[in-house]
C-alpha cells in the first residue's frame, strides 16, 4: 500500500508543468507532421502512445523507493553498456548511424537509457565515497571510466549529441559533488588535451557540422542548410507567429528534421516570440523547480540523482534551443517534451518519475 504521506507530499506542480509542456509538445508535433504522412499512424499519435508509456513508467517508478535504486545502480549501468555494445553488433541502421536495437516490432535507442543510467551510477559512486573537503583527481578515475566507456560506444554509433550530453552530465555532476579546485584545473587541462583525440574519433559529417556552425553560409545547401532554414523559420515567426498549422517553413518541408531535433523552430515560427517565451519560461520554471527538489532532498544519493536529472533536462533544453536559434553547432540533441522519439520520451518521463519519487519521499 502506498503511504498516505506520499500522496500528501506528491508534487502536483511538477507533474502539472510536465503534462502542460507535454501537451504543448503534442500540439506542436501535430502541426509539424500535419502536411506529410509517414506510415499509417500519424507521428503525433505515436508520440501520444510513447507519452502514455512514459506515464506508465512514472507510475511504476513511484512504487519503488528511489533509495532502493541505489543498490541496483551499477547493474542498471552495466545493462545499459551491454545494450550499447549490442547496438554496435546487431543494431539497426538509420540515417547513416547505428543507434537502435529492435525488440519485437519496436525499436529502442539504448543511448537514451544510458543518460539515466550514468546519472544513477555517478550518484551511487559519489554517494558511497565521502570526501567532505572535495574529491581529488584520483577519486575521479572511476567516474571517468563510467562516462568514458558509454561515450566512446555512443561516438561509435555515431551520435555526437548524446555523447556530448553524457560528458556535460559528467562535468556537472562532478562539479556538483564538489571537486578540489586543483583537481578541477588538472581535469580541465586534461579535457582540453583530449579534444584532439575527440576530434579524431569524430566522423566526417560531425566535423563538417562543427565547421559549418562556424560559417553556415559556407555550405548553404549542404550542412549549413539546417541552420539557415531554422533561423529563417524562427525569425519569420516575428512577435505572434504565423499561426497554428501555418508555418510555411515547416509545412512546406524547408526545415529538415523538423519533428525531431528542430521541433522548436516549428513552434517559434507558428507561435512567434510570445509562444517561444512561454516554452522557454516553462523549461526555466521546471529546471528551477527541479533544483529545489534536489535542494530539499535529505540524502546524498537523492540529491545527486535529482540534480543529475534536472541537469539532463536543462542541458537538453539549452543545447537544443541554442542549436535551433543558431547559437550552437548542429548536434543531435532533442528537446524534452517536444521532440518526437519514443526512447527519448520514455527517458524524460522516467526522469520526471524519479524527481516525483524523490520529492514525495523527502520527509521519509
Amino acid at each position: 500500500m502506498i503511504d498516505r504521506r506520499l500522496i500528501t507530499n506528491f508534487d502536483w506542480t511538477l507533474l502539472g508543468s510536465t503534462l502542460l509542456l507535454t501537451s504543448l509538445g503534442v500540439l506542436n508535433l501535430y502541426s509539424a507532421s500535419y502536411s506529410f504522412s509517414s506510415g499509417s499512424t500519424p507521428v503525433f499519435l505515436k508520440q501520444v502512445y510513447y507519452i502514455l508509456m512514459g506515464l506508465t513508467a512514472i507510475l511504476g517508478i513511484l512504487q519503488i523507493d528511489y533509495k532502493k535504486l541505489e543498490r541496483y545502480a551499477y547493474w542498471i549501468y552495466g545493462f545499459s553498456v551491454l545494450l550499447l555494445v549490442a547496438v554496435l553488433v546487431v543494431g539497426k541502421t538509420g540515417g547513416g548511424a547505428r543507434r537502435w536495437i529492435g525488440i519485437g516490432g519496436l525499436t529502442y535507442q539504448p543511448s537514451e537509457l544510458m543518460k539515466l543510467s550514468l546519472i544513477l551510477a555517478l550518484a551511487k559512486y559519489f554517494h558511497n565515497r565521502n570526501n567532505i573537503g572535495g574529491y581529488q583527481l584520483r577519486e575521479l578515475g572511476i567516474p571517468f571510466l563510467l562516462v568514458g566507456v558509454p561515450t566512446i560506444l555512443i561516438m561509435k554509433q555515431p551520435d555526437l549529441g548524446t555523447a556530448l550530453i553524457l560528458l556535460s552530465l559528467f562535468v556537472t555532476i562532478v562539479f556538483f559533488a564538489r571537486v578540489r579546485l586543483k583537481s578541477l584545473i588538472i581535469a580541465g587541462v586534461l579535457a582540453a588535451g583530449s579534444a584532439p583525440v575527440l576530434w579524431h574519433f569524430m566522423k566526417d559529417y560531425q566535423k563538417k557540422r562543427l565547421l559549418t556552425f562556424l560559417n553556415p553560409e559556407f555550405d548553404a545547401l549542404g550542412s549549413g542548410y539546417h541552420i539557415i532554414q531554422s533561423k529563417i523559420a524562427v525569425g519569420s515567426g516575428k512577435v505572434l507567429g504565423k499561426g497554428f498549422l501555418s508555418g510555411t517553413q515547416s509545412q512546406l518541408q524547408f526545415l529538415p528534421e523538423h519533428h525531431t531535433d528542430f521541433i522548436f523552430s516549428v513552434l517559434a515560427e507558428e507561435w512567434g516570440f510570445m509562444g517561444s517565451m512561454v516554452v522557454v519560461l516553462g523549461f526555466l520554471f521546471l529546471v528551477l523547480w527541479g533544483a529545489s527538489i534536489s535542494k530539499e532532498c535529505k540524502d546524498k544519493f537523492g540529491t545527486l540523482l535529482s540534480f543529475g536529472i534536472v541537469a539532463m533536462i536543462a542541458w537538453h533544453f539549452l543545447i537544443n534551443i541554442g542549436m535551433v536559434v543558431g547559437l550552437l553547432p548542429v548536434v543531435g540533441v532533442p528537446l524534452p517534451f517536444f521532440s518526437y522519439g519514443g526512447s527519448f520520451v520514455i527517458t524524460v518521463m522516467m526522469g520526471i518519475g524519479l524527481l516525483l519519487n524523490i520529492r514525495m519521499r523527502r520527509f521519509m
Partner: protein, 656 residues
C-alpha cells in the same frame, strides 16, 4: 530552515552550487531570450521575407510582343507559340533513363543534357531544348509516362508570316545582356527578357514590348507547386504600324527577283518608306530563336553578304545618277544656263588622258536637257571642270549625300562626298583636277547608299524639301486604338530656284519618255515617270577594250542604278532600284524593274481608290492558319484587332 537539511551526509554546500547551476541555466535562458528577440523582433521582417522567398516563386509569363504591321494594318511580324523543354531533376525518378528517353526525341546527346541539368539545383527546372517542332512536341506528349520530370512550356516567339519579305527592316530580338541589366535604364526587364537588338525591333522597343505577367506560386522545399497565390496578367505590347505597303513590297520583291542589290520606295511628300528591299534577304526566323552557330557562320562567311543591309549599309559610286546634282549645282551657280552646249565626240581630252563618253560615237553638240536625257559624260566633264570639285561637293551635300539620312535603322552609312579637304584628310595629298572629271559623272571617290540617293531624288521630286526617310507611321494599342502617330520630319530644304527644279524635273522625265532617253524601259502608259539611270564600273576599262558586261566575272560586272519618281508633275512615289554586278547598264537592268514596280504602285492605288470610299475599318489580316494552331496562337499574342485605317495621312507640307 532546518540546519539538518544542509548537513546532508557526505555532501556540503549544495545550495550554493545549486545556485551557481541555476544561475547558469537562467543566463542560458536569457541568452536564448535575447537571441529570440534578435531573430524574431529585430530581424523578424527580414526573416519573414526570406521565408516568403523560400516558398513563393514567381513564374513569369512573357507578354506577347507587339506586331509589326504594314501601313494598311497587314501583319508583317507576328508571334507564335514556341515550345521549350525543361527537366526537373527532382521529379525524374529514373534520372539516367529519362535522359536516355528524351535525348532521342529532342535529338540531343544524353551527356549534353545531363551536363546542362546538373549545372542547377535538382529543384529548379532547367531548359534542355528551345523551340521544338510540333512533331517533337507530339512525341513528348504521347511518351509522357517515360519522361518523369520533363515539362514543356510555351513562350511567344517572333514569327514572320511572309518569310524573308522586307527582312532587313525588322531587325531581331534576343535575350537582354547582363551588361544592359547592370547598366540600368531597363526597368521591368529580368534575366532572359527579350529585347529588340537591331532594326525596328530595337528602335521601337519601348512600344513593342509588353508588360510581363506572372504567376505567384507557393512551392515546397522540393520546388513542387503547392498552390497558386495570385496571377498577374501579362499585357501585350503595342503594335507598330509601319509606312511599308505590303502589297507594293511584294510586287517589288517579285520584280527584283533574286538579284543582289536594293530597292527602296518612298512617298516624296512626307518621307514615308513604302517598300524596302535588300537582297539577298535573310531568313529572319534564324534570329527569332536560339542562334545556330553553324547557320551564323554560314551567314557571315557568305560572299554575297546577306547580313549587309544594302539599302543603307552598302556604299556604291552613284554613277550617272549623280549628274542631276552636278546639273543643279551648275545651274544654281550660274556656271551654265539651260542653253549652254558642249560638243561630245565620244571622249574628252584632259591633260594627257582621254576621258571617254559611254557612247563611243559621241552625242554631238548637247545642252543640259539632252545631256541628262542621254547621259552624256563629256558634257558633264566640262560642267564639272567649270564648277570645280568643292562647289560640286557642296551641292551633293545639299542633297543629303555624305551623311546618314537618319532612318530609324541601325548602322546606316553616310557615303562619301569628295572634295579638296576630304582628299587632303584622306590621302594627305592635294586634289588632282582629273579626278574632278570622274566625280562629275559619279565615278570618282563618290559613294552613296541607295537610300541616300532615293532621299535626294525625292527631295528634288517634291520641289526641294528633304524629308528624313522614316518607317514608323503609328503606334496602335492591342485594342486597335491609335496611341501615337509619327509626323514627317523635314530635315532641310534644298533651296533651289524653282526654275532649276523645273528644268531638272523636265529633263528627268525626258530620260524616260523622250526618244534617245536612257530609261525608256521604265515608261508607263498614262503616267509620266521621271528618273535618271546610272551604270557604275567596278573595274576601270581601257578605252580601246570594251568588253560586254555579262562576259566579265561576276565580281567585276557593272552595277546598275535607276533613281526615279512619278508622276513627274506631282510625284507620289520616289523609287531607287540598285542592282549589284548586274553586268548591264542602269537603263537596261534597273529601269525595267523600276517600271514594273511603278506600274504596280499606280495599279494598286487605283484598286484601292475603287475598292474603298473614304475611311473604312480594316481588320488586321492574319495568314490563314490551321484551326488548332490558331487557338494556341491566341494564347500568346493579341487577337486580331480592328484598326481605324487608313491612319490619317501625315500632312503633306507645302513645297516651294
Amino acid at each position: 530552515m532546518n540546519l539538518e537539511l544542509y548537513s546532508r551526509e557526505g555532501i556540503s554546500g549544495v545550495p550554493s552550487r545549486l545556485f551557481i547551476f541555476s544561475t547558469i541555466v537562467v543566463i542560458g535562458a536569457l541568452i536564448i531570450f535575447t537571441r529570440l528577440w534578435y531573430l524574431q523582433i529585430l530581424h523578424g521582417d527580414e526573416y519573414r521575407q526570406k521565408s516568403e522567398n523560400n516558398r513563393i516563386r514567381i513564374r513569369p509569363v512573357q507578354a506577347g510582343r507587339g506586331m509589326v504591321l504594314d501601313r494598311y494594318g497587314k501583319v508583317m511580324v507576328d508571334n507564335r507559340p514556341a515550345f521549350d523543354v525543361f527537366m526537373l531533376r527532382e521529379d525524374a525518378k529514373d534520372f539516367k533513363g529519362t535522359i536516355m528517353n528524351v535525348s532521342g526525341m529532342i535529338k540531343s546527346r544524353p551527356e549534353d543534357i545531363e551536363a546542362i541539368v546538373r549545372r542547377d539545383s535538382p529543384f529548379i527546372p532547367v531548359r534542355i531544348k528551345k523551340d521544338i517542332d510540333r512533331d517533337t512536341l507530339a512525341m513528348l506528349l504521347t511518351n509522357k509516362l517515360d519522361l518523369d520530370g520533363i515539362t514543356v512550356s510555351i513562350e511567344p516567339k517572333r514569327s514572320y508570316p511572309h518569310g524573308t519579305l522586307a527582312s532587313h527592316l525588322f531587325g531581331h530580338i534576343g535575350e537582354i545582356t547582363e551588361k544592359q541589366l547592370d547598366g540600368g535604364g531597363y526597368e521591368g526587364y529580368r534575366m532572359g527578357s527579350l529585347i529588340g537588338k537591331s532594326g525596328l525591333e530595337s528602335k521601337y522597343e519601348t512600344y513593342l514590348r509588353g508588360v510581363d505577367g506572372g504567376k505567384y506560386v507557393e512551392v515546397d522545399a522540393a520546388g513542387r507547386e503547392v498552390s497558386v497565390l495570385k496571377e498577374v496578367d501579362s499585357y501585350p505590347g503595342n503594335n507598330l504600324v509601319t509606312t511599308i505597303d505590303l502589297e507594293l513590297q511584294r510586287v517589288a520583291e517579285d520584280a527584283f527577283k533574286d538579284k543582289a542589290g536594293a530597292v527602296v520606295a518612298m512617298d516624296p511628300r512626307n518621307g514615308e518608306i513604302l517598300a524596302f528591299i535588300s537582297s539577298p534577304a535573310i531568313n529572319p526566323d534564324i534570329f527569332a530563336g536560339p542562334l545556330d552557330p553553324q547557320e551564323w557562320n554560314r551567314l557571315i562567311n557568305d560572299p554575297m553578304k546577306p547580313m549587309q543591309n544594302r539599302a543603307i549599309q552598302s556604299q556604291y559610286p552613284p554613277g550617272s545618277t549623280y549628274k542631276t546634282f552636278v546639273a543643279a549645282a551648275a545651274l544654281e551657280e550660274g556656271v551654265i544656263t539651260k542653253d549652254t552646249a558642249f560638243h561630245c565626240k565620244g571622249g574628252y581630252r584632259f591633260g594627257n588622258r582621254v576621258y571617254r563618253c559611254w557612247k563611243k560615237e559621241g552625242h554631238g553638240s548637247v545642252s543640259l536637257h539632252r545631256a541628262l536625257v542621254e547621259s552624256c559624260d563629256v558634257y558633264f566633264y566640262q560642267v564639272g571642270l567649270k564648277l570645280g570639285i568643292d562647289r560640286m561637293a557642296a551641292y551633293a551635300r545639299k542633297f543629303g549625300l555624305g551623311e546618314p539620312t537618319g532612318i530609324e535603322l541601325s548602322d546606316e552609312k553616310g557615303g562619301i562626298v569628295p572634295d579638296k579637304a576630304w582628299r587632303k584628310k584622306r590621302f594627305g595629298s592635294p586634289w588632282i583636277d582629273g579626278e574632278t572629271l570622274s566625280c562629275a559623272i559619279g565615278q570618282g571617290f563618290n559613294l552613296v547608299t541607295p537610300l541616300q540617293l532615293l532621299s535626294a531624288y525625292a527631295a528634288l521630286a517634291n520641289g526641294g524639301t528633304f524629308y528624313q526617310p522614316h518607317l514608323a507611321k503609328a503606334i496602335v494599342g492591342p485594342d486597335g486604338k491609335v496611341l501615337e502617330t509619327f509626323q514627317p520630319k523635314i530635315k532641310k530644304r534644298l533651296d533651289l530656284s524653282p526654275e532649276t527644279v523645273a528644268l531638272l524635273k523636265d529633263a528627268l522625265q525626258g530620260v524616260v519618255n523622250e526618244p534617245g532617253g536612257t530609261a525608256r524601259s521604265a515608261r508607263l502608259e498614262d503616267i509620266k515617270v521621271g528618273g535618271k539611270t546610272g551604270t557604275t564600273q567596278v573595274v576601270k576599262m581601257r578605252a580601246d577594250k570594251r568588253v560586254k558586261g555579262q562576259d566579265l566575272p561576276y565580281w567585276f560586272r557593272d552595277h546598275a542604278w535607276f533613281a526615279s519618281f512619278a508622276p513627274a508633275e506631282d510625284p507620289r512615289i520616289a523609287l531607287v532600284v540598285f542592282i549589284e554586278h548586274s553586268g548591264h547598264s542602269g537603263g537596261h537592268a534597273a529601269a525595267p524593274v523600276a517600271g514594273k514596280i511603278l506600274k504596280s504602285f499606280f495599279d494598286l492605288e487605283k484598286q484601292r481608290k475603287e475598292g474603298t470610299q473614304g475611311e473604312v475599318k480594316v481588320e488586321v489580316e492574319r495568314e490563314a492558319k490551321a484551326e488548332g494552331e490558331k487557338k494556341s496562337v491566341s494564347t500568346v499574342s493579341p487577337s486580331p484587332i480592328p484598326l481605324p485605317l487608313p491612319i490619317p495621312d501625315s500632312p503633306v507640307s507645302d513645297s516651294l
